[in-house]
Symmetry: C2
Subunit: 390 residues, 2 copies
């Protein structure tokens, strides 16, 4: 099931505030989805995700198909039961991961032939199989199988002709995905994905064809695939606001906090990205006043938390009272620096909590500002603060 209620629109941009009802509950948009590739958002418990205000998480169909395998997931009635997450889940189609295998895969009209990275088995992923797998997973939002048009291949930019071929095949796969999804009587929601590379005319064609197919929601794909930032911003400025206003819009795999603000302004409702979790493990932390590298020796004796305005467990401890408000229960930069230096697991555990909290809280602030009719002000303030430096 899927119902999208558009609650408010921003007069200064394409930004909108909505509520999206899915099989496992209602989520408030705009929102950010933490990525849980293998049935776990790396380094955090489901309880911690609940506490941070995560409303919906992502799973990767390809990875879960490989491990633990469909028979195991079926035994648990799907991914929710397996990973003990009872709120909504969105899964990708597996297409992007198969595509990322490079020389290990061969794409045909029928689907993608590839060798399993786990055991070398010869496998085949088609739009139909992707729908079957995502039906077993019980995903609240299912994504069509698409071909992710590359930005360049071996240094050669993708030509318009190549991008058209790829986009048109994705459209045929969209039809096959939709037909199989219906045949399976899947009660959840299937999203179509706009492709077309960096060519606006192709994106417009893709969009029109997908809108004609009447999906309950739409994604913008093929961004964050190695293109320069200006190119990404150009696609972000083109596609989202042209999608049907009464349906949810999902920008796949984007991005930095600044990208999310820009995406919201362009009319995007849903985001996912590995950046908060991956950067946390690499010691790059998002804060209100810019990014912080915890490995830098200057943090060695610093008693401040990562972000003195942050109420996450890492910065404010169990009470959640930020340093700026007199809270002194949080963990210091010195401690996090020490944990990183010693390779202690608690390091990435705490930094992951912080980065995810940062992203989830950013979107909470965006929603509150949209509710209050103050999105333009919030956007200007957040940008200025982030540019200040930590």
């Amino acid at each position: 099931m899927l119902q999208f209620d558009l609650l408010k629109t921003d007069p200064t941009s394409h930004a909108r505030r909505g509520a999206l009802t899915l099989g496992h509950g209602v989520v408030q948009t705009p929102l950010f989805m933490p990525v849980g590739t293998y049935g776990t958002v790396k380094g955090v418990t489901p309880r911690s995700l609940h506490e941070m205000g995560a409303q919906i998480i992502l799973g990767n169909t390809f990875h879960l198909w490989m491990r633990p395998g469909l028979d195991v997931l079926q035994g648990f009635g799907g991914l929710h039961g397996f990973e003990k997450w009872d709120k909504p889940i969105l899964t990708d189609s597996g297409g992007f991961q198969v595509w990322s295998l490079g020389a290990m895969r061969r794409i045909t009209e029928e689907g993608v032939h590839f060798a399993s990275p786990v055991n070398g088995d010869r496998l085949f992923l088609s739009p139909e199989l992707s729908m079957q797998i995502q039906t077993v997973l019980g995903s609240d939002v299912v994504m069509q199988l698409d071909e992710c048009t590359p930005y360049e291949t071996r240094g050669q930019l993708t030509t318009e002709g190549e991008a058209r071929q790829s986009m048109e095949m994705s459209l045929r796969w969209a039809r096959r995905s939709q037909a199989e999804f219906q045949r399976l009587n899947n009660p959840n929601a299937l999203f179509g994905i706009v492709q077309g590379g960096m060519y606006e005319n192709l994106r417009a064609e893709s969009l029109a064809a997908l809108v004609a197919m009447d999906f309950p929601g739409y994604a913008v794909g093929g961004v964050s695939v190695g293109e320069p930032k200006e190119e990404m911003l150009r696609v972000m400025a083109h596609t989202p606001h042209r999608l049907p206003a009464h349906k949810p819009r999902y920008l796949m795999g984007v991005g930095t906090p600044e990208d999310l603000l820009e995406g919201v302004a362009q009319g995007v409702d849903m985001f996912d990205c590995v950046m908060p979790t991956r950067n946390a493990r690499n010691g790059t932390l998002f804060t209100r006043f810019g990014d912080l590298k915890i490995r830098n020796a200057r943090h060695r004796a610093d008693q401040q938390p990562l972000d003195s305005s942050c109420s996450c467990y890492a910065c404010a401890g169990p009470s959640g009272v930020p340093w700026d408000q007199g809270g002194r229960e949080g963990f210091s930069r010195a401690y996090l620096h020490h944990l990183d230096r010693c390779g202690e697991m608690l390091g990435p555990m705490l930094t992951t909590v912080h980065n995810l909290h940062y992203y989830l809280n950013l979107m909470r602030e965006v929603r509150d500002a949209l509710d209050a009719g103050e999105f333009a002000q919030l956007r200007a303030r957040l940008r200025a603060e982030r540019a200040r430096g930590v």
Copy 2:
């Protein structure tokens, strides 16, 4: 400060129930202390330790001296502030870790010369310096510097003569530790450590000399150093119950759940061991019905939690209702097997919670049984259950 109240003694063994008041609060004995070598119990947050009922944790003086270093710890007013743990902390003397450096160290009457494993610096640890470091750490329980008498060296069992030399030096170091501890006006409690290798006569001598020095508590050291299990049990049967009844007794570095039960029966009040945390990371889980290897393929699709009677977060989820009582919020063996196979951080996070909860809960059951005068029955039941197999 230290006050030990002996609340009850078991008529069927040397087991006793006590309450130990330390600088950071009262702890109930017998108890188990999770090991937090580098200022973190590997893989768990302080909040999680609180929730599991940890009363006191251990820190390793040598490691913390190396990293983050005393200047950093001093800035935080000690280890409690640095690692955000506000209950009691016991620290070892650093002697065992320096001793473990093997060829990298040289032991003299004055102290131990060694090369820093972090940067190769030539360093020196004496009883006086150990007291100074532990004073900076602000440990509630400080341990004397001792020499850990090895069980064997290059295949040669330690002779009585060697064990005597070592034990007598440890006694001289005990006197120097005590003098320095007093000179520093350290307000906390210093424990003496009984040595003497596997020789009961030497242990009796060590014990008598330490008792004459009137420490507020005593440890049994030099066990769990590679000796056969029967030798360890022989020392455990000899030393603890001969220590002063009105003072706390700490058996260092022991052991399995069965060892803990035996230790309690022999009159031990305090235990520490890396086994629950280390085994968790290696996939060996303690359960009521024996040990379970989560890497075993037979768990691949098993929907049961690790221990169907367990109320930890891993086995029973946020509600804490065990599987046996109808709870279905816990994580399955299949899920934990999958996380381990995928190298996901949540795997060791959940298994560490389980193993620590198992140890802490075991000691809670022991205390309850002692309170109820049913220790002998509990001991027999737990042993039979553990021997059943999972």
